[in-house]
Symmetry: C2
Subunit: 269 residues, 2 copies
Amino acid sequence: MTFHQQLRRAWNASDSMLCVGLDPDPARFPRGVNSVFDFCTSIIDATADLVCAFKPQIACFSAIGAENDLEGVCTYIRERYPDVLLVLDAKRGDIGTTAEFYAREAFDRYRAHVVTVNPYLGTDAVEPFLRHPQGGVFVVCRTSNTGGDDFQSLTSNGEPLYQHVARRVVDHWNKIGECGLVVGATYPDELKAVRAIVGDLPILVPGIGAQGGDLAATLVGTDSTGVGMVVNSSRAVLYASDGADFAEAARTEAIATRDALRAVYGAKK
Amino acid sequence: MTFHQQLRRAWNASDSMLCVGLDPDPARFPRGVNSVFDFCTSIIDATADLVCAFKPQIACFSAIGAENDLEGVCTYIRERYPDVLLVLDAKRGDIGTTAEFYAREAFDRYRAHVVTVNPYLGTDAVEPFLRHPQGGVFVVCRTSNTGGDDFQSLTSNGEPLYQHVARRVVDHWNKIGECGLVVGATYPDELKAVRAIVGDLPILVPGIGAQGGDLAATLVGTDSTGVGMVVNSSRAVLYASDGADFAEAARTEAIATRDALRAVYGAKK
């Protein structure tokens, strides 16, 4: 099954474009919760029927030496919730043999369906991910942080850099349904421009909830089937409550976000 | 001590611009060597007096779940060879809180003096690394892989993207000696162009030895003091022999590479 096929399955099963990002930060855990694995699996169990994807942020685990927890969390998702897409957010980007090692990390070690990658090093930095039998990539295209303009907006041959990236993904890198793009929702015109370039390739939108993106803006990013997006919320869901009710509060927040998205793009069922 | 101060100390102590890259691949270990830590520390002990830096490639460790070995290797370098610069090759690039987690990974967990970072996400993706009291960054600027041209050569306002990156590093990101750049040696004119833009900022050259860069080309990358570069060789040193003499063979190869570099730029002592 390609990444696109797995994602279609996830959209169909959940009727949701919501992705819950797993960014565990022990400093923000509710009192009494001490395990990264326990915190993440509580959130997963509370929201799995509401989402098309879970997106662990590897940096949160690496900073505290919690790779074993991440392995456990990924296995938990794959085995308990096989319909859900597993996105490893790692923004990897390196060449040749090194990229092969990163592909092994994402797909073999953590069993991700798809990993976020950085385009700056070009085609052969992405190929090792694409060569993997079931691996997919979300290529970072346009980010909505304040520094996103520093390079991504530089215009060459009449188009900003991020549109060159979008073109290369759809024209060269995607062959059998293994590519998508990461595009922030802060600038709806840019999301629309990327959608116009990439056709029905899936778009991961990282910036709603705590990151402050514009929910309604995501509407312009839907594909020809009215879906096409994986819209992430991390901290707004994870840390909806710092009390014993944190999992329940996460569920409430996830329902509200899923429904707000549905109100914009329309439920499919 | 800033990254630049540590690097000057390393250049002075070693009279060498050679960096040995630690890319352990158990499939290539000599017979009888089974431990990633043992392999790396054998190479380190055999070459430490010949190098200004060691550069562990984190992907090699992450692919096989060897983070504990990487922690051990980094501690070993810091404690046994305090004059040597510790470069964590990780090519990290993400925004806000996530970048802070990556900075903690590089500087607190692995105790690196400097980490390689990807510029695509712009200023605020690099700031968390720069804010760290002793942390430095080598910003990926120009790579010499076949896909390096895909985006890095796109011209905007009369300059290719990688030169825009170089300008931003020297004009905005480097303040007290915490920035350097990564530039491949395959295209000497480009290395020269970057050097002209960035003045005396250190340049990490990843591509000699097994990666096939042009050793003589590195000459054009030296700074006003005749040094200025960290020239990496990984596999040519690590896998110089697959026999019991692997450490000795690594030393022989490292001496040859250091001396070839000296012949080009001239020994300082």
